[in-house]
Symmetry: C2
Amino acid sequence: MTKTMDSNITDSEWEVMRVVWAQNKTTSKDIRDIIENKKNWKPATTKTLIGRLVDKGVLNTEKDGNKYIYSTNLKESDFLKSTLDQTFDNICNKDVGKIIADLISKSTLSFRDIEELEKVLEMKKEDAVDEVPCNCVPGQCNC
Amino acid sequence: MTKTMDSNITDSEWEVMRVVWAQNKTTSKDIRDIIENKKNWKPATTKTLIGRLVDKGVLNTEKDGNKYIYSTNLKESDFLKSTLDQTFDNICNKDVGKIIADLISKSTLSFRDIEELEKVLEMKKEDAVDEVPCNCVPGQCNC
DNA sequence: TTTCTCTTTTTACATCTGTGATCTATTTAC
DNA sequence: GTAAATAGATCACAGATGTAAAAAGAGAAA
């Protein structure tokens, strides 16, 4: 059930998607207005990105007079996961633990987050291994 | 001291860098031979990537007869961190805990890793907050 | 109904990426 | 010492990305 995202989105496109995810249904003007607080984009830029997302099938459109209402049925978390997977593909499995430790250290977490993580770790003990196997091609890591 | 990487590398370039990181000092032939086990690249492709990395100042060269010895003084972990930072820039701080939990769940970890993570979590309690503040631009998340 | 305004569609264009062919300067094997 | 194999340098080229202007269509205002 862990399907890999077939469509990737770029950083700029992500900016647009965040608005759609937060708003659920929205118009190009909404998107422009919201992003204006963050990026110095000309209106045309936002529209181009919206267009590309529609082309990729990431955004759905629904005509409303002379404009469109945009929405998506793809989940932010899935995109995020596929991005992270791609990043982790670049390193040795053996290092994953350390990386996660780094992430935790540098993140701002709530007490609830920590509790949750402790719970996950507890469960993780069930399928923990003695030694994480290296998954690298010989010569690309020194395990 | 947390300097943000000024130079970014692409996925293909990363493939080359992994060899350099693992080998410390290496030649273009070494790189080609090692990557051959993984990618169907023509020799010229590897050389192009090496050249780009040299241009970017990521790889150092040292002449040795008619060839070069390549090395780097940049750390894999720094590139990784900057890549991860960029990914986390795309989401709300509030969601970071959950994302990390997901990462843990899907990763293969050793008992030692888990212990280490528990330790980090324990320390993390010291600067944990009641509620992680949302860092998003209004309209880009529904906190 | 004419004009203005907003939306979409079309087109543009420089840079970055992935992938590789060629040409040139060396080396090394005969 | 000349031919074959290498290593590096130069050039190529299509597709992805970031960023945007220009054109065209449709509703709103006058």
